[in-house]
């Protein structure tokens, strides 16, 4: 299959963009050839296929490429958090919002898996109803290309000029999604944006879940990861590298590949935090003053 044809269905892109994205923020801030727009579009497609309208979703963003691409793009209610703390903010917001509102956060791999990981783990522990979509560009690209915890080992970046050697959370037997599973998340999936509709299906399942969902969407960065680690800004070559590295199995060996699919589906298996909080408060009020 020609990967380009699979991802750039422009008519469709315009449709969900026109429906949900503020016109002045379309096409957004991403570099030419960046996979972010595809990632952004996958989320919008999932929302669209679920039949959700502007009033059904509150959209939050983090910092970095993903934050700048998606911040205040949603025509409905939207907010931007501080770097790595949007999970804590969303926890407070979740307590205030009506339960039926879907809370979607689009963040980067640095935001979710490093600076914000403590807060994300605690959201998983509590099973707070939110969908975290991690737009993973394999490192810190908005600051010019430094390695992160999803950067493949050996990658040359501006902060790993001899090749990234620090253990990461995607190779060597580690998987960041396993940590989140152990912490209590109820839906976890990983895809690349070059995969056709599978990411959209996972996103739909994630958004429907009344609990902590996280979908890791790996996408190609042309300007930094491509140029620095892959030695090319040629879109076709970069996309080929991504496709060659993608395995359509979540259980496969991840030492040289992006393992993709649904990692953990425990939808409905645990009480949701805000609902439990409301039940608890109601029970205290019903039983009277314990003062």
């Amino acid at each position: 299959m020609n990967g380009m044809a699979g991802v750039l269905r422009r008519g469709e892109m315009r449709d969900v963009m026109e429906k949900y994205v503020r016109p002045e923020k379309n096409p957004g801030t991403a570099c030419s050839g960046c996979g972010l727009r595809l990632a952004h579009r996958k989320v919008l497609e999932a929302i669209d296929e679920l039949g959700l309208g502007l009033g059904d979703v509150v959209w939050g963003t983090g910092i970095g490429c993903s934050g700048r691409q998606t911040f205040v793009t949603w025509k409905g209610d939207t907010f931007a958090g501080t770097h790595g703390r949007v999970y804590a903010m969303a926890t407070g917001l979740r307590l205030a919002l009506p339960p039926e509102k879907r809370l979607i956060l689009t963040v980067g791999d640095g935001d979710a898996f490093t600076i914000g990981f403590l807060h994300l783990l605690n959201c998983a522990r509590r099973n707070v109803d939110m969908t975290v979509v991690v737009f993973d560009n394999l490192g810190y690209q908005s600051t010019g290309g430094q390695y992160g915890v999803t950067t493949p080992l050996g990658s040359r970046t501006d902060s790993s000029p001899y090749g990234a050697w620090e253990p990461n959370w995607t190779q060597g037997g580690f998987d960041v999604l396993r940590i989140l599973k152990e912490a209590g998340a109820t839906f976890l999936a990983r895809h690349t944006v070059l995969q056709g509709h599978e990411p959209v299906e996972s996103l739909k399942r994630a958004i429907r879940n009344r609990g902590l969902s996280l979908v890791q969407l790996i996408y190609p960065c042309v300007t930094h990861y491509g140029a620095q680690a892959l030695g090319t800004r040629d879109l076709a070559k970069i996309y080929d590298w991504f496709r060659d590295r993608t395995v359509e199995s979540i259980d496969a060996d991840s030492s040289d590949s992006f393992t993709t699919g649904i990692f953990h589906d425990a939808v409905g298996s645990r009480p949701e935090f805000a609902a439990s909080m409301r039940e608890f408060v109601a029970s205290v009020q019903k039983e009277g003053n314990h003062g």
Partner: protein
Amino acid sequence: MKRTFDTGNAAITEGAILAGCRLFSGYPITPATEIAENMSRRLPQVGGFYLQAEDENAALHICNGGSIGGLKAMTATSGPGFILFADPFGWAVSSEIPVVIVNSQRVGPVSGITGAPGQGEFYFSRYLTHGGNYETIVLAPNSVQEAFCLTVRAFYLAERFRTPVTVLADQMVTDGWETLIIPETDEEFRGMGLESVPRRIHPGPEFYPASDAIDIPPVVLGHNTGAACSDWTPTDRGHDTEDVTWQHKHAWRLIHKIRNHRELIDESETWFLEDDPEIILVAYGTPSRVVQSAVRAARKEGLKVGGIRPISLWPFQDALFSRKASYLTVELNWDGQLVREVQRAAAPGSSVHFWGRCGELPSVRELLAAVRRLKEGKALERDGWRTEAW
């Protein structure tokens, strides 16, 4: 009226609940832990949420999140937690979101002494986040009853100004036991000079106008207003921009919505200022209680002494120091903080001096001795410190 005997921690809890606080998030820390404990018991009784956070940074972010969902929210901490607020405090300042922060100051820096009073965050409470370009409101109680009243006031000002408001207490105020009077009806509430405004909802999607206007409802998400809430430099649509013109408008609004409404914020107590004082003692928080006694004792000795207690610390009340005099600040720190601001504000020709200690209060006797030395033109000394250098 309900008359009780309780701690400052309990007073702050009851003040917050009466002001409409329905979300508290915090992390246990001496000496503010009892605020969290009291909240965990009281909030569910009134339909509110108590949420113990993974750290103080998360705690204030959780409060911010609750606030943009429409809940009045508060957190409480002490120095080592206060430092972790830089990030969410800045977010609330720039996003213009009401939230209340309590800091019970202890001895620092860092862990210092947990269960003793300090006053090391006078400037830090003003500059709690990076980048400047904002003004902030800080209130400083010196009693259990005032801790109650100023907590109510903090919520009131936070709503009207769409900004975080800090209650800067100290360990003795929050741990101390005193008589506490709590109003039980609206009439009693108003009779005590207390005010409250409910949360209103910004109609959106336009962002706040480029003006110093207050009483504009803050952004609340979830009402399909198309509201955008963010700490990025906003345009009138709430979008981020790298344009310095919009940044200037934003900074001007953040600074002047507060500075141009000082009459709603400024609060102080003074002693013998109209009786020709030559020496004026200055203190906030618990040390001001000793200062008040020392000023009275000095007057009995025939010394021309007065006293100033700023109740609202920030914006700083320069006008209180318009009299030419010899000022002596009494602070619970060894490095001298309030003294620097007094020196800046004092009338030309004034001399400004510092008497500091940390972890324990001065005695009236010690302050009187300092006053006499000042009167005699002698240098001040403090425990083991050869001069008052600051």
